[in-house]
């Protein structure tokens, strides 16, 4: 009867992982954002089942957690690709032509503003307002690894490189 939708989808291994995160924060509901950040670190996004699980454990309503998850731009409820590419579109990067780089990434991967993740779950392309590395503009990050002075050509090569890396790993 309890509204934990899809509880069956959370297996014991994942429950243990979530419990670890919760334990680290003493099951303290006021640390919700930190807990959610840790969950996002593991899954690259916030799975609904995980949020329902922590809602019950922290004794906060699912609706409240959903509210927090949707309030912050940095939290994502959509699954993300293995490589999350963030292209800076802050003022400095923008004037140094970040838009053609963004377009190159999107065109190469068949993505758009609405569709940000490739079907094979390898790449996610999104923009950020400033990465705080204006001296290296235009800049992008791949899973928090910084790539400075980008060009559309470099972008194309980067994709190729990442694809090969993924293929070798598999």
């Amino acid at each position: 009867m309890h509204g934990l939708k899809g509880e069956g989808n959370v297996n014991s291994q994942e429950i243990a992982r979530l419990d670890d995160i919760l334990q680290k924060h003493d099951y303290n509901a006021t640390l919700l954002i930190a807990i959610m950040q840790d969950i996002q670190k593991v899954y690259h996004y916030l799975p609904e089942e995980a949020l329902c699980y922590i809602a019950r454990k922290l004794k906060i309503s699912e609706a409240k957690i959903y509210g927090v998850a949707t309030f912050y731009e940095n939290f994502s409820l959509e699954p993300k690709g293995r490589y999350v590419i963030k292209i800076c579109d802050g003022t400095a990067c923008h004037v140094r032509k970040s838009v053609p780089i963004l377009e190159e990434f999107r065109n190469t991967l068949g993505l758009s503003k609405e569709k940000t993740t490739t079907d094979d779950m390898l790449f996610t392309v999104e923009t950020v307002s400033c990465l705080g590395a204006c001296g290296l503009a235009p800049v992008c990050t791949v899973n928090d690894h910084v790539h400075p002075s980008m060009t559309p050509e470099k972008a194309k090569a980067l994709i190729q490189e990442l694809k090969e890396e993924a293929a070798n790993e598999n």
Binding site: S61, E62, A63, K64, G67, F71
Partner: protein, 571 residues
């Protein structure tokens, strides 16, 4: 220290412990407009309609500013006038303006304030989004496109009811009130109390109407339409027809229902008497055998079961306490079962079908009536539940001058009810009725119960009653947040009680979401009206109701009381 005062619009107004300027202004007889202010909920300060100007020309929100001695404020200046009009214009810029076909037409605060500030034009283009309606619930309908983000529903659901089915989601211009993950409200822990709809100033959350089926049944020639009216309806319905809140209009309601075409009319107070007897017996049984027969023994009290929102709250939040919720059906469902049984032989003979309608102050009753537990052979015992508000619509549609019609009496054979059955509609009433049944059968005992602390609109009351040498310790709560707090206390062992009455709505059924909108003072008047009706009742105790005695001794309840009057949830 001399008296503290403020100067409001040039008039000296004394204040004592008022928490904010708004309360002092209202005391001065000025009704500053608000969307998001309720004395029973936390202060949110979202709507900014209650702004006032201080001596230096600063504009401040009166709801969230504490009063200060010798403070000088104005509530009506050119600046404030423009400010309020601008807020209304901005709200209307993204709001549907088809008032004539809106559920809330005539009761919408946005509409009222637009009229009050004589808004004849909105300067901004209308960006009202296409409505996406959530009508998954049996009790409420959500239309977020009509939401003004005052947060009243969110605070009601979270602070007052501790349900947490809805909250704010997203940010800035995209902010909405939503259940978790945008699910339909019926798939959440929503208990169907409808208090969100009761406080919603617009039509973003409204109560679900079931009038169509009722009208169809009334127009059909081969249907016997029987109707029962809950206790709390009689002290509130008149408010919409210029009758003072709290005035008992049950006689007029009977007349109006007959004019509408209902074949037989009854008072749910009759079956409340049944509930009293069954529940009191269950209590006596539990006191004696609780240690052996209940999973946690007598460490947990027996809880009342009349309120379907409360039952759902236990099911979702405290399933382990379900065995402690009385197995008695609610009075509505008891009457539903009795009526369907009673008319069965006559219907078969005459080729009729009985349609059972209940007029309730409550929207959770709509959900209760549809529960599987209350269906026999796929047919619900109560076919339609309509709220006080819906009955008002029916009466108005027919053109009946409610304030002028003559009162009449309910139909035989269930025409007698006790005063105990009437007070079921107010917090503490079910408890008082049950105590009257188990206590000594003399008038002294009645008075003792009355003054034991079971009456009053406080959220949580604890009372002790002498019963055959033992002391019975009882709890009475209204508002699910108070119930939640009491359960936690019981679980921690800080409190030990024998019997607890829970009503989900603040102040009990008189404050139900199906009732006309009213602030606290209106609910106080309604409560007094209930006790007044009890005072004038000839029979005070349920067990002295002659019809009922007959039903138990010679009628259908002789062998079938358990089958017709009890329920086991979740089976």
């Amino acid at each position: 220290m001399s008296e503290k005062y403020m100067i409001i619009d040039g008039i000296r107004t004394a204040f004592t412990d008022e928490k904010n300027i708004l309360q002092v202004i209202r005391k001065a007889g000025i009704h500053v407009p608000t969307f998001c202010y309720y004395t029973d909920m936390s202060i949110y300060g979202a709507c900014r309609m209650c702004v006032v100007e201080d001596e230096r020309g600063s504009v401040i929100a009166s709801c969230s500013t504490p009063p200060k001695h010798k403070m000088v404020i104005r509530t009506n200046t050119s600046k404030l006038h423009q400010h309020r009009k601008m807020i209304l214009e901005l709200l209307l810029a993204s709001h549907c303006r088809d008032c004539t076909v809106c559920e809330k037409n005539g009761n919408c605060r946005l509409q009222m304030l637009a009229a009050r500030f004589h808004l004849t034009k909105v300067r901004f283009p209308n960006t009202h989004p296409e409505p996406v309606i959530d009508d998954s619930s049996l009790s409420i309908v959500r239309d977020p496109s009509k939401c003004i983000l005052c947060g009243d529903c969110v605070r009601m659901c979270n602070e007052v009811q501790h349900v947490g089915a809805i909250d704010f989601a997203h940010r800035g211009a995209n902010m909405i009130v939503s259940p978790a993950f945008g699910r339909p409200i019926a798939e959440t822990d929503c208990v169907n109390c409808g208090q969100c709809a009761a406080v919603c100033p617009t039509a973003a959350i409204t109560i679900k109407k079931d009038l169509k089926g009722v009208w169809q049944a009334l127009y059909a020639p081969n249907k016997r339409v029987v109707v029962q009216i809950a206790p709390a309806v009689r002290v509130a319905i008149g408010e919409e027809f210029g009758i003072a809140p709290g005035k008992n209009t049950i006689g007029k309601i009977y007349t109006a229902l007959r004019m509408l075409g209902f074949d037989t009319v009854f008072d749910t107070s009759f079956s409340a008497d049944l509930t009293v007897i069954e529940e009191a017996n269950e209590l006596l049984y539990k006191l004696e055998n609780g240690e052996k027969k209940y999973p946690l023994g007598n460490s947990m009290p027996l809880f009342t079961s009349c309120c379907p929102a409360w039952v759902r709250f236990v099911e979702t939040k405290y399933p382990e306490l379900l065995p402690y919720v009385s197995t008695c059906k609610s009075p509505m469902e008891m009457f539903g079962a009795v009526l369907k049984e009673y008319y069965k032989p006559a219907d078969e003979e005459a080729g009729l079908e009985t349609v059972s309608v209940a007029v309730m102050p409550c929207v959770a009753k709509k959900y209760e009536a549809a529960r599987e537990e209350f269906k026999r052979n796929e047919v619900p015992d109560v076919d339609y539940v309509i709220t006080t508000k819906e009955l008002i619509l029916m009466i108005k549609e027919l053109g009946v001058q409610f304030q002028e019609i003559e009162p009449s009496a309910p139909d035989m054979p269930f025409s007698i009810n006790s005063g105990a059955g009437v007070i079921f509609g107010v917090t503490g009433g079910v408890m008082e009725a049950a105590l009257r049944h188990v206590a000594d059968k003399n008038n002294e005992a009645l008075r003792e119960i009355e003054y034991s602390g079971v009456r009053g609109l406080e959220g949580t009351k604890i009372a002790e009653i002498e019963l055959g040498g033992n002391t019975l310790r009882v709890g009475i709560v209204n508002g699910l947040g108070n119930a939640d707090a009491l359960i936690k206390k019981l679980q921690r062992g800080e409190e030990k009680l024998d019997f607890v009455e829970v009503m989900a709505c603040p102040y009990g059924c008189i404050g139900g979401a199906g009732q006309p909108f009213g602030y606290r003072s209106v609910k106080q008047d309604r409560a007094q009206g209930m006790y007044k009706a009890d005072k004038s009742a000839i029979v005070k105790r349920s067990c002295e109701n002659p019809t009922l005695i007959n039903l138990y001794e010679n009628g259908m309840l002789k062998d079938r009381a358990h089958e017709l009057l009890h329920v086991h949830y979740g089976k």
